[in-house]
Amino acid sequence: MAMLGPHAGFILAAYLATAAILTGLTLAILIDRRAQRRALAALEERGAGRRGGGAA
């Protein structure tokens, strides 16, 4: 901490805030994409892929 000078707290706060925001954003996108893939797979398994027909 001493190597960061008298304003170390502000420097660390900036980096921690950045890490938290980008980690949250990345996780949110990846979790959302995985959830949509699972939902799509479940729908296709139930035969929901066609408008006119019944189960595949």
């Binding site: 900036a14 959302d32 994409r33 939902a39 296709e44 408008r51």
Partner: protein, 252 residues
Amino acid sequence: MASFIDLANPTRFMRLSSTLLPWLAAPAALLLSIGFYLIWFVAPADYQQGETIKIMYIHVPAAWLALMFYSMMTLSALGVLVWRHPLADVAQQAAAPIGACFALICLLTGSFWGKPMWGTYWVWDARLTSMLVLFLLYLGVIALRRALDEPSRAGRAVAILTLVGCVNIPIIKFSVDWWSTLHQPASVLRLDGPTIHASMLWPLLITAIGFTLLALSLHLAAMQAEILRRRVRTLTIFEAERLDRLSLQGAP
């Protein structure tokens, strides 16, 4: 032009983006690792700012990306309203949260830099205020889309709001030239070249490129999620219609 039209096919886009994603994410991780190593162990302290110069290495790329993503959204808005490109609305919807996050990072890191340097977390000068307006525009775009149920109507409304708000981009860029601001003028993107020493400029540029590749990776992944979501929505409607039809026929 033909390849641009080819990308309008969501299935083809999903395949191409899946191929491209590792080629964006891996260099992003590498460049950010190199950049942070240079920032923390190589780049010197500033003669005036001391070690708080380290905040600049994330603040400046965050600001650039906040502007870049809104510019991308503006192009997407034109794609929705003028060219009717099928993936334009997907691109716009995926970009908004990412741009908002980088605008928030810019505002927060700027405040953490401002307190020790200027003695205050915030001043209502032109640069800071216009960047806050940009962040609020991002939130407004996200909120407007969620407020409208019908997707195509939401897409058009968001596109119009985005185009109206794009006037803020040159205001942000030239605010330090047009008004007397506490925020310092441009040090990198200048007609007569950067004024930052190479020992600081290289870590800044490497980190900026790393963050850009990261942001583009997240954008592609978010577009994939949005395309899948729309497909799920369509199939859910098909399934509901099918079940409705079966129940009317008296099927078990």
